[in-house]
């Protein structure tokens, strides 16, 4: 049985470049389509085809009913074929507006990219966009397939002009290995067999080239050793195996390793195999390692070569590709998953957005669906990493929305920010506990959230007065008041609302550290930021109070006349009118203001505090 190697490639092209025809041709001529599939293709071509009576190869790839009905491709499709020397996995990505999101999915695992251009049209905007994305994701091998040569009379000059233009562009962005091939997918020239009609071309056919691309596995095996630990295998007390995929490098029993981010070192004792132990493991293998010493290793740690371990940091510069309908807002916390570790990540500063068609840098405050930006990124604890350019697995991450749990972004780490290495938390001698005890109370945050006019400030004021009367030490942070000072530079866009809450949460946290009972009265419309505040302060010391009033009720009260203005269009981004309010799902206290007076609401909150003994009555 000949052992074959795997090549994963992606095909990119705009709508009419003949991408489906090319893949269909590859599979069809390579006898890679079964008779029953061919019969189905012939029937489908007659029924819903767009090629007159001819075979419509696009139908081989467009598998979903909706795609056939609308004659569009919705999602990345994977196709498989193999030749005597190689096995191929093709990720075919559609060319419409969802392109970036799909291409990132397909390209992230690809070794090579085939870019199609139409010989009659030459390079187009999309060619540049696809090339940029291929470069960004680190695809080292790009094949420019100049298609529809039959429509330009197989003219060498036409091909040469397109090739020269493309090589100039590729050099500008820094794509390393380029191969340009003139083809006609429709007629079959230079796809599997050399074209007699283009005798002037002496390079490889498309398939011939794909069979010989060197995927650099040697250099990956020579790179520094890394295993992100997925799962600790402890079947009994005498065995502790660390499982994961070797994402780069080579390892032998006896090799010295360092576990990041902890920095502890040990030696590999065994590479445990199912039938027998291994004397060597290389990049691409899933392994189980045991170490010579009892070192603490858990899921998400990275076992590295001791000589050149992964770096450790908590602030980075990174490129983010945004893939959600909900915009990326700086300051909002997201789950960040890198390797097997999930932490909380926040975009601290969006430096610029990249126009993927022109490569221009543009100023931006947020990223929309399919936009790409360069930003500063902070995570809530140090993580092991390598720059993405050096290692896709230890430098690439995804961002997950903390409310919907959807994957909303993909990111590539560039480097650690120096500030993360130079600023350390300064421990102080007197802590939160001591300060609380001195005041005879237990510090906490009472976080009042709800629509404008729901009654937050009224109730918070009553609670504040009653706690004061009891001799407790409190402070009331009111949304409007804070916007007069600390947050006077912020408006009411989504980005500014996120930053508004972040600052107030940080202030509340400092005040809790000072031993105070802090009352925060802010609309705080987004679940994500309230969750951030809860985590910043600590769940034990965070009491979320939902002051619940139906919009119609709050609007009818309208104590500040703001709803009226918003309805007249004089106020933009007003919560409840043209900006959303996300109701708390599980608040500690919910106050229904349609059936409760402010006084009894305050009494309930005081009772709640007494129950928690955070406010011992004196």
């Amino acid at each position: 049985m000949p052992s074959r190697r795997l090549l994963r490639f992606i095909t990119c092209g705009s709508v009419d470049d003949g991408k489906s025809t090319l893949i269909g041709r590859l599979l069809y001529e390579g006898n890679l389509i079964f008779d029953d599939q061919r019969a189905a293709l012939e029937a489908d071509s007659r029924k819903v085809g767009t090629q007159g009576g001819d075979l419509d190869f696009a139908l081989l790839l467009d598998g979903l009913m909706a795609e056939r009905e609308q004659a569009i491709t919705i999602d990345v499709a994977y196709r498989f074929f193999s030749t005597a020397t190689r096995t191929f996995i093709v990720a075919d990505t559609p060319g419409h507006e969802q392109y970036t999101r799909n291409m990132i999915t397909g390209a992230s695992t690809a070794d090579a990219a085939i870019l199609l251009v139409d010989a009659t049209r030459g390079l187009v905007t999309q060619t540049r966009r696809h090339s940029y994305l291929a470069w960004l994701l680190g695809i080292r091998h790009v094949v420019l397939a100049v298609n529809k040569m039959d429509l330009v009379d197989y003219a060498q000059a036409r091909f040469a002009a397109i090739e020269a233009a493309y090589r100039a562009f590729a050099a500008q962005i820094g794509l390393p290995h380029i191969c340009c091939i003139p083809v006609s997918a429709l007629k079959g020239d230079n796809v599997l067999t050399p074209s007699a009609r283009m005798a002037w071309y002496d390079g490889p056919t498309l398939l011939g080239h794909l069979e010989t691309i060197d995927v650099d596995s040697a250099s990956l095996e020579g790179a520094p050793f890394r295993v992100p630990v997925q799962w600790v295998n402890r079947p009994h007390a005498d065995f502790r195996g660390f499982t994961g995929m070797v994402v780069s490098g080579t390892i032998h029993p006896g090799d010295r390793v360092r576990v990041q981010p902890s920095g502890r070192e040990s030696r590999v004792a065994r590479i445990v195999g199912y039938e027998a132990d291994l004397d060597r493991a290389v990049a691409g293998q899933s392994v189980t390692l045991t170490l010579a010493d009892e070192v603490d290793v858990s899921r998400g740690d990275v076992i590295c070569s001791a000589e050149s371990p992964a770096a450790v940091a908590d602030q980075f510069e990174a490129t983010i590709v945004w893939m959600s309908d909900q915009p990326m807002l700086p300051g909002r916390p997201y789950w960040l998953k890198i390797g097997a570790r999930t932490v909380t990540g926040t975009i601290s500063h969006l430096k610029h957005r990249v126009n993927v068609n022109t490569l221009e840098h543009l100023a931006a405050k947020r990223l929309q669906l399919n936009e790409i930006g360069v930003c500063n990124l902070a995570v809530d604890r140090p993580i092991a990493f390598d720059p993405y350019r050096d290692n896709r697995d230890t430098g690439g991450f995804i961002l997950i929305d903390r409310v919907s749990n959807d994957t909303v972004g993909a990111g590539l780490l560039h480097f650690a920010l120096r500030r993360s290495q130079n600023i350390h938390w300064q421990p102080t001698d007197i802590g939160k506990e001591a300060r609380s005890v001195q005041k005879g109370q237990k510090a906490c945050v009472l976080w009042f959230t709800g629509l404008s006019g729901a009654g937050k400030s009224t109730i918070a004021n009553l609670v504040d007065r009653q706690l004061y009367v009891r001799g407790l030490h409190t402070y009331l942070l009111d949304g409007d008041n804070v916007r007069h000072g600390l947050n006077r530079d912020l408006g009411f866009t989504d980005e500014d609302r996120v930053e508004n809450i972040r600052r107030v949460a940080e202030v509340a946290k400092l005040m809790v550290d000072a031993g105070l009972i802090v009352l925060v009265s802010f609309i705080s419309p987004f679940r994500a930021e309230r969750t951030m505040a809860r985590e910043l302060v600590g769940a034990d010391e965070f009491i979320e109070i939902f002051v619940d009033a139906p919009l119609a009720v709050a609007e009818s009260r309208d104590p500040k006349g703001l709803y009226r203005k918003a309805r007249l269009g004089q106020l933009q981004n007003f919560t409840g009118i043209d900006s959303p309010y996300e109701r708390p799902e599980d608040p500690e206290i919910r106050i229904d203001t349609t059936s409760t007076t402010a006084e009894s609401a305050a009494a309930r909150i005081i009772a709640f505090l007494e129950d928690r003994t955070t406010a011992p009555g004196r």
Binding site: D36, T105, S108, W231, G244, K337, G396, I400
Partner: protein, 299 residues
């Protein structure tokens, strides 16, 4: 030596299984007794060695599988020392669902799709490993490795999560579940080459042998038990046949073949001119039938 494609596929599948075990609250592996399930079980044994796989096997039984499949299933669970859960749709049994009487659509919906949903809900499994491959069918070719399902087990092909690098998003809302396909990138040929390389045990029905079959609507149906009604003029004849896929015996056509060893099957696969699903009667029901079944919660 760089890794071969089979080594790469194996490593990817093991990585996926470990990720599931590390992140799922209550994972389970569907076990349909076929060759893909055999490979899945073998990979799971390797992934968690020296521990046992950290999930039970679940067989959604229609009560219409081949007899040899039941024998093989029980032997495997015992030999590997893994918990095997078997679920039968009792309501379907009471209704007397019979593929010979009710046809493949009703049988598949009641005894497979609905039954699977019952089993998942009853046990509260949140992540379900299954052996589907992308080369099997066109709508599968577009499904993610980690595929989110709604609380009603529905698949929404237009709203799939991007799946980038090897970083899988295993998070979900309460009620949602994730179906995970570690063999997504394997082909039928890869499965057989791997069975050959690793000596993975498979049900003997895959190997050619003289078996009693009747030819019906162009398919060779094995007379596996006396529940099979014979129509006028039908008489079982002994023919040298094997099965390319296994399912419910009334719905699974045999193929004429002399391949009685794994290497012979690998050779036969290379020359194959039809796809493996040709022997499955459920796919021929209507265009887009698999996509529709998947949206309803079928695997």
């Amino acid at each position: 030596m760089p890794l071969t494609h089979l080594q790469q596929l194996e490593a990817e599948s093991i990585h996926i299984m470990r990720e599931v075990v590390a992140e799922a609250e209550k994972p389970v592996m569907l076990y349909s007794i076929g060759k893909d399930s055999s490979v899945m079980l073998h990979l799971a044994m390797k992934a968690f060695y020296p521990a046992k796989p950290r999930f039970p096997l679940l067989h959604v039984d229609t009560t219409w599988k081949f007899r040899e499949m039941y024998e093989f299933r029980d032997r495997m669970a015992k030999e590997k020392g893994i918990e095997l859960l078997v679920h039968v749709n009792q309501e379907g049994l009471r209704m007397g669902i019979d593929p010979f009487v009710h046809g493949s659509s009703v049988h598949t919906d009641v005894m497979k799709t609905q039954s699977l949903k019952q089993a998942l809900d009853a046990h509260g499994f949140d992540v379900v490993l299954a052996g589907a491959r992308r080369d099997e069918e066109k709508s599968r070719a577009k499904e993610r490795i980690f595929s989110l399902r709604s609380a009603q087990h529905r698949w929404d092909p237009k709203n799939q999560r991007p799946e980038v690098w090897r970083v899988y998003n295993c998070r979900k809302q309460p009620g949602q579940s994730i179906r995970v396909f570690p063999l997504s990138n394997w082909t039928e040929g890869d499965v057989w080459e791997y069975i050959d390389r690793e000596n993975v045990p498979v049900v003997p029905l895959y190997f050619a042998k003289l078996r009693p079959v009747v030819e019906r609507d162009g398919a060779l149906i094995l007379v596996d038990d006396d529940r099979m009604p014979l129509y006028a003029g039908e008489a079982p004849t002994m023919r040298m046949v094997r099965f390319r896929t296994l399912g419910c015996y009334p719905l699974t056509g045999a193929m004429e073949s002399t391949a009685d060893t794994v290497p012979a099957i690998v050779q036969e696969m290379r020359r194959a001119r039809t796809s493996e699903r040709q022997g499955r009667i459920i796919d021929h029901d209507s265009t887009g039938s698999m996509e529709r079944k998947k949206q309803e919660g079928y695997f």
